[in-house]
Amino acid sequence: MNVAAATLGAARPNIMSAPWFTSLVTVLLLAVLLAAGGAAYDGFLSGQVMLNLLIDNAHLLVIAVGMGYVILAGGIDLSVGSVLALTTMIAAWLLNAGWHPLVVIAIVLSFGALFGALQGALIHFFELQPFIVTLAGMFLARGLCYLISIESITIEDPLFVAASQSQIPFLGGFLSPSAAIAVVMLVVAVWASRRTAFGRAVYAIGGNEQSALMMGLAVGRTKISVYAFSGFCAALGGVLFAFYMLSGYGQHAQGTELDAIAAVVIGGTLLTGGYGYVAGALSGVLVLGTIQTLIAFDGTLSSWWTKIVIGGLLFLFCVVQRLLSVRSQHS
């Protein structure tokens, strides 16, 4: 597959193979989904329903942003869902032990970043496969959840409850603090990916690690930072999820890593790395959220239709990306 990525990079620029083109397809798809929903159901296109997409998926958006970086750098992080669960667990546990909520948040965020950095270090220094290292990280984090408690722990901390219940007026509707944090996170991450040396190094490594090394880029430091960032995002996602659910539980967010990967892929980022936009995470998450909302509005479709539709969309996107890259190879 590296061959495909390399030829893709070397191909003559062509409108259909430009990263913004695939992203445009996603945005169009999102528009079509929303229009279909608006035509079929009353009130689907109301402002609050749209804002709820962000509120309900704030944690996924944050995780998808971190995953976007990892995938752009040519890696993958399967541990994010369980790191999310573990941070809700640690937060609930420390809060119940009487710790100050801000201290707790600082601890879980640094814990997430450290967890990610350790995985990144294993991947970089020992040349292990990201897939297997983060898979073990996934087992480890889920296992640690159950070591803390196999039951769900309720969070009653005033700050967390306030964060869960406050509504920030926005465009005639309201946003939750979590959604606002997620959007800020996205903006910062998009800015960093386009405007900083770190962002450019991520793209360079994802495009071709060997060349990046020869160009004198700090490959190791960047790779470890990317995994640390993803771990940080997973922990932040955990904090937002704790705001949302007001509990810590080892089974929280099962399979979120796959949703995040799906969101990144649907957002137009190639899994081979080096190609796509961090902002694609937003469109990917919104597409997934819209599908869920459509199914909820319909009322007669069961929730497993979500999975089938997401699978179908993934298929469509992968095939389109693949055909476009073949076409640009021949042109």
Partner: protein, 349 residues
Amino acid sequence: MAAPAAARTAPAKASLLSHPLAKPVLALAALLVLDIIFIPGFLSLEIKDGHLYGPLIDILNRAAPLMLAALGMTLVIATRGIDISVGAVVALSGTVAAMLIGGTMVINNGQPEYVANTPMPVALAAALGVAILCGAWNGVLVAGLKLQPIVATLILMVAGRGLAQLFTDGQIVTVYYEPYFFLGSGYLLGLPFSLWVVAAVLAVVGLLLKKTALGLFIQSVGINPVAARLAGIRTATLIFFVYVFCSTCAGVAGLMISSNIKSADANNAGMLLELDAILAVTLGGTSLAGGKFSLVGSMIGALIIQTLTWTIYSLGVPPEVNMVVKAIVVFIVCLSQSTGFQKLWKGRK
């Protein structure tokens, strides 16, 4: 890899230890020794109704689905691929079989008796057919469209379980038809029938790989797909059939699991089985970079995982610890395979 490096530095010495299977076998042996010491009656075997019973048999029987899944996964990984849809295929095939067989009670000569809704051979064939279709789908995406294997199989992983849930409406399907239980809990010549199935598949595949050029082909595709194609190997066809084989193995594993628990649960059947299978393959010494693989190693890997699980349960350790232990084992195995770590280790000595 550890073994060749060790062989280079010490050609004569420790030739047994440098065998690729040495580490997995040692790990399994260490686990078994632990069990013999700490679990009374671990080695006990008794014969009831002509069947062998005992902890060892229990472990083997429970390991059978994982061994099958690991067999298929080994060949996929040998071609530099990965198949993360195994668990979804398990759920699908188990669901199809359970739904078709079901079991309706009829009164026969005054005796209540369950009959299958669909003749069992037809139901089994349908379930395996679904598994083969899944494999063909993966194969077309990987070999035909040249998608990255992890993305290609991610599609089925997400959608497959959704399909299984759609078929069953999210309910658990219970099977009442007796003969179906033979596959998962029946005995043949004193040993669990599922073991015979695993042994048969292993023997056939092993022979095919050793006696024909197939093993060599798979290895060359894994080492360098482009060179293999230029050398005249039909790489696409080969990769296609490897994915079909992997899904078929998963399908049989799904039948075993649903037959063993007498029901099919589309929501949870085969959950994370793909990860256990990948773990078993890695434990067995197969490199995830492709090209170097060992079927027997994967079987030993699967046994290590099942023995570990069994031990954790029997020692009274909370089952929650299982995942932590598994994670630590993966880290240790991966590190021991990494050349960077070996250099670090040698440098210190």
